[in-house]
């Protein structure tokens, strides 16, 4: 007798979020990236439509990275010393379709660049490349509240994904995203209750749930991956059952976490493996957007995604 699959039917779906505005939408991006929109748990293609594959963004900085592992630095060669050359390398050599720009140079310990200078950098980057952008601050709340409004304005109408809003500091960023037509990253510290609360708070400011991407904060393999995994799974189950306040797509900062692990730094190949395993596990718990570092790891995960979605 043929085994019958027990299929779940979900009444609701994950929001679709679009990153990057093309000409016809008032921006200047060469293409836009769509994430979310699924009506099923990850990869259960028979239960509901999954219109978009997970997407990978190359992480780039506005300065040459100071603490990156030598394997990572050598993967980009000399270009990593010049942010624009680094971006060109990602786009031209590694065919990046999405970039995640971190404004590390504004951090008081990494150059303390001012808001105008940071905004100017973003303007120039936007004029040099047509790839859609994720832009995140320097992870210093005070400084981010100074630089992000100007950066947001410099990227007005480009429909960037900007971050990261946290429970104690979301108003400035949310107001900028609202005013300048961007979408926002809502970051919670591996805590589903705070994730939900933050989405409610941001939506109260006027940004629709459809303009929020959740960063659940992940740990890499061996460093709490399973905590993030189970939180993402639980949020997804609630969202598909009808909880709109948790129905946002997930962004996972895989590269920065994977390359923190001492195992990743132990040998050249092991770092790539660490990043690949972390990313591919999170895809199975519902990650929609992965921010990654090593081009080889990105290539492998992209191949994995293609294989998964071949059906």
């Amino acid at each position: 007798m043929e085994t019958q699959l027990a299929l779940e039917k979900w009444p609701h779906e994950i929001s679709t979020v679009i990153i990057g505005a093309k000409n016809e939408h008032g921006g200047s991006r060469s293409h836009s990236i769509e994430i979310g929109g699924q009506k099923s748990l990850p990869l259960l293609f028979k239960e509901g439509v999954i219109p978009n594959k997970p997407k990978i963004a190359f992480e780039v900085w506005d300065i040459a990275p100071v603490d990156w592992d030598s394997e990572l630095v050598s993967a980009y060669g000399k270009s990593i010393k010049d942010p624009f050359a680094w971006v060109d390398k990602c786009v031209n050599d590694f065919k990046a379709e999405l970039l995640c720009l971190k404004m590390q140079g504004a951090h008081p310990d990494s150059g303390d660049k001012g808001a105008e200078e940071s905004a100017k950098f973003v303007s120039e980057l936007l004029s040099r490349t047509g790839v859609p952008l994720i832009i995140i601050g320097c992870e210093n709340d005070v400084k981010d509240n100074l630089i992000m409004p100007l950066i947001s304005e410099a990227a007005k109408k480009e429909r960037c994904l900007i971050g990261c809003a946290v429970q104690d500091n979301y108003k400035t960023l949310a107001a900028s995203a609202l005013a300048d037509g961007h979408t926002i990253i809502a970051q919670s510290p591996i805590d589903i209750n705070i994730a939900k609360q933050l989405n409610i708070l941001i939506s109260d400011i006027g940004l629709a749930f459809e303009r929020i991407v959740m960063d659940p904060t992940i740990g890499s393999l061996g460093y709490g991956l399973e905590y993030a995994y189970s939180i993402m799974e639980r949020a997804r189950l609630a969202a598909l059952s009808g909880d709109k306040s948790l129905a946002s797509p997930f962004i996972c900062f895989v590269g920065q976490e994977a390359w923190k692990a001492k195992e990743a730094k132990a040998s050249a190949n092991q770092g790539i493996i660490w990043e690949v395993i972390t990313a591919s596990s999170l895809i199975q718990s519902g990650a929609d957007l992965l921010v990654m570092r090593h081009p080889k790891a990105i290539e492998k995960v992209n191949n994995f995604i293609e294989m998964l979605y071949k059906g």
């Binding site: 209750n193 609630a238 009808g242 948790l246």
Partner: protein, 262 residues
Amino acid sequence: MFIIGELINGMYADIQAAISSRNKLIVQKCALEQVACGASALDVNCGPASKNPLIDMPWLIEAVQEVTDKPLCLDSSKAEVIKAGLKVSKNKTIINSTTADEEKLDVLLPLAKQYNSQLVAITISKKGIPQNKDQRLELAANIVAYCQDNGFPVEDLYLDPILLPVNVAQEQIKGILESIHEFKLLCDPSPKTIVGLSNLSQGIRLRSLINRTFLTMSLAYGLDSAILNPKDNELMDALITAELILNKNIYCDSYLEAYRKK
């Protein structure tokens, strides 16, 4: 919980006046307010004073479905009134209600099938209102068996244990709560359960407090649906909180607001 708003009922003066003056705006406002407060469906009842329910019921339904596509719960003890309502319904419907008597089931169950409607069945019979849990269960089992024998999907059946005012039948309320749980065990897939909440507090003081206390308790016993006043904010807060405690929704500090944004 599947919340059925109770306010479109000719028993209330504003609706009665709207029916007699054919003022559909009042009915439509009442419908939209209940939906805004969280009603998943709307009960529609012409009330005891309606002289011509065969005309009033379709009029009410047409007025309501001009402004909302929520399911409508056609509330009458007369089968011909329900039939008149079903004929004009475009929205999904719930027939409210049959009893456990075969002569009622013989009429209403085919109607439910014909109009693809769900069906509320009250566990009473012409012998009267059951006096304890066992009598309720026996009637419920008869109704379920009748549905199964006649090809009506049990998951479209709502069993109502018939709530009585707490000052009239205080000794029965605990048994009613237990019935709600045990109705669910009658078959798999199980029937749904429903109560007309306001019956509990007819003619007594502190109605809202009594209603919301019972509602939270009945949720813990697995109640699926209630006909209630969704504009009673404290009642809705208690309902949302009870569902939170039963892990139906994920906690956040603004969980009341989060529920209402759904």
